[in-house]
Amino acid sequence: MTETTPSRRAVPLWIQIVIWVFLAGLLALVALGLSRRQQGTVQPGEVIDDFSLTFYSGYELDGKTEIKFSDLRGKVVVVNFWASWCKPCEQEAADLQQAWTEYAPTGEVVFLGVDYVDTEADARVYLKKFGITYANGADLATRISQYFRIKGVPETYFVDRDGVLRYVQIGPFSGVDQIREQIDLLLK
């Protein structure tokens, strides 16, 4: 009589390949997600893709109530992300408005206020409180902030005449001089 060990059924090769390919794909997805999270905001030197912003009623730019970013080529664009619930945004609100009143008459600079995850009623109170007149609109479905990969508010992006991002300000400005400095560099 012989003593035999029960034989193990080998998994077919094609199943093994499918499993390993699936696992590799899963790992690649996780790695991609992690790298995206750690990527930070869009970086200076990158060309900003097109996006559209619908303004709150009462706000307009060149007579339009909605703009496409690509329509602003040839102008220096300052994109400011803010929210009414954001206390640091209040620190720079008056400085941004002052800078806008200084540069608006030149016609070479555009300020865009992008209101991040906010309620319109509270946003309006905020805009009125700081007397903000430059074009402002809600970041619907957070599409714009997702594209810029913002980490919080306030954040401000300075884009040159060719649509290339040149400077990113994380957090509030120290004063109106800091805003002027960046704009003047791009106007040269």
Binding site: T2, T5, T119, T142
Partner: protein
């Protein structure tokens, strides 16, 4: 006579009370229909529970302590007063703040299928690894066990016989 006066007074008082009650009721009708029922915190939180704060990760809106969440809860209350349904309110939040405001992932099949498949595959791998660990290859012997025992016994037996022969 006194009894008649007392009856009149009682009747007048009854009419006065009825008049006051009727007047109060009439006065309250337009107020109620203009305002509608004010949603309670529970009504608001019932919907807020299904939404997430898009600023702080993984925090349901009903328990989120930030100013932003307070504003959004107020927005829910306003929409309830306007007569919006739960589905309409949730859809508004998704449209305005993006899918991450909702507890439901946008691509349900991929969101549930991938982790479930990964768990199943992982479990299968683990079980297989344990199985292999328990029964290492060395256990797979092709030598008949009885024969091996026989060989071993014969050797011993031969040795014993040799020893006995020597003693003789």
């Amino acid at each position: 006579m006194k009894a008649m006066i007392r009856t009149d007074v009682a009747r007048n008082t009854k009419y006065a009370i009825l008049f006051v009650l009727l007047a109060a009721l009439l006065a309250s009708i337009p107020v109620v229909s203009a305002q509608g029922p004010t949603p309670t915190d529970d009504d608001v939180n019932k919907i807020a529970k299904k939404l997430f704060c898009p600023v702080c990760e993984n925090t349901p809106l009903d328990v989120c302590p930030t100013e932003a969440c307070r504003q959004w809860r107020e927005q829910i209350r306003q929409m309830l007063i306007e007569g919006k349904t739960e589905d309409e309110i949730i859809q508004y939040f998704i449209d305005t703040y993006g899918v991450r405001a909702s507890g439901d992932p946008p691509n349900k099949i991929a969101s549930y299928l991938i982790p479930v498949t990964a768990i199943l595959l992982g479990t299968a791998f683990l079980l297989r690894a344990l199985q292999m660990w328990k029964k290492p290859k060395a256990a797979e012997s092709t030598v008949p066990a009885g024969e091996a025992k026989q060989v071993h016994q014969d050797e011993y037996f031969n040795k014993l016989e040799d020893e006995l022969k020597k003693r003789k």
